[in-house]
């Protein structure tokens, strides 16, 4: 199994557990960043899986944010690690406030 696929499988599980410790949410966000770094290695089917997992993260953003806010200050973390603004998953506090999109 490639690194990209292993990371994707891990991320798919992570997005199902918004209410475990915020420390695991940080690991999930790290994993999503690693996927972004090797996203070109994913085929179409795997990209669709990634989109589905991202969608689940977005839908549960308030719960994920609640977990992570208990143990970390996301804006401070982004500043410290110079997180690219394209890494939208590190902006949970903003995603948690957005209106759900009707599709």
């Amino acid at each position: 199994m490639s690194d990209a696929l292993r990371l994707l499988a891990s991320y798919e599980v992570d997005v199902q557990f918004p209410d475990v410790s915020g420390f695991e949410i940080l690991e999930m966000l790290d994993i999503r960043s690693r996927i972004a770094a090797c996203e070109n290695d994913l085929n179409d089917e795997q990209r669709a899986r990634l989109e589905a997992a991202d969608d689940r993260l977005l839908r549960s953003a308030p719960a994920f944010f609640q977990s992570v806010a208990a143990i970390a200050d996301l804006p401070e973390m982004r500043r410290r690690s110079r997180t690219p603004c394209s890494y939208w998953w590190w902006y949970l506090e903003r995603l948690a406030e957005r209106e759900p999109v009707q599709t």
């Binding site: 891990s10 199902q16 475990v20 420390f23 940080l26 790290d30 970390a72």
Partner: protein, 130 residues
């Protein structure tokens, strides 16, 4: 609290956990389910297996003990490779009151603790004076 007192607080919490592993209510089974879902533990693993792994991390003399402060709450973590974990390094994270926060093997423990600014207190044998 001065930094030296963090050693004492960590040691007390580790002793408490060695005597009895305590989780927030309802949290142990949820964590076990996630560990199995992520294939960190085999599908047949039980709460007893999970507890055994945690205890093995909490006694390894060379395991590293970290401190993570956030606002008014302190957290401690022990990083180590328990026997039989097939090379995986696990993090056992807990509060000073001896309540487990989470137990999992990050993709890369060294990266994880560095990136998230955990402070190294020392090796288990140093922190516990054993």
């Amino acid at each position: 609290m001065p930094f030296a007192e963090k050693f004492t607080a960590a040691a007390c919490a580790i002793l408490a956990l060695r005597s009895r592993l305590r989780w927030k209510p309802g949290s142990e089974l949820r964590h076990l389910l996630k560990r199995k879902s992520k294939e960190h533990l085999p599908p047949e693993a039980t709460v007893v297996d999970y507890r055994s792994l945690i205890r093995r991390v909490l006694v390894g003399p060379e395991n590293l003990v970290y401190y993570y402060p956030f606002r008014e709450q302190d957290y401690y973590a022990v990083a180590g490779e328990p026997e039989g974990a097939q090379g995986a390094r696990w993090l056992v994270m807990f509060r000073p009151d001896g309540i487990l926060e989470t137990v999992f093997p990050p993709t890369d423990v060294s990266d994880y603790v560095r990136q998230h600014c955990f402070l190294l207190l020392g090796r288990m044998r140093e922190v516990m004076n054993e």
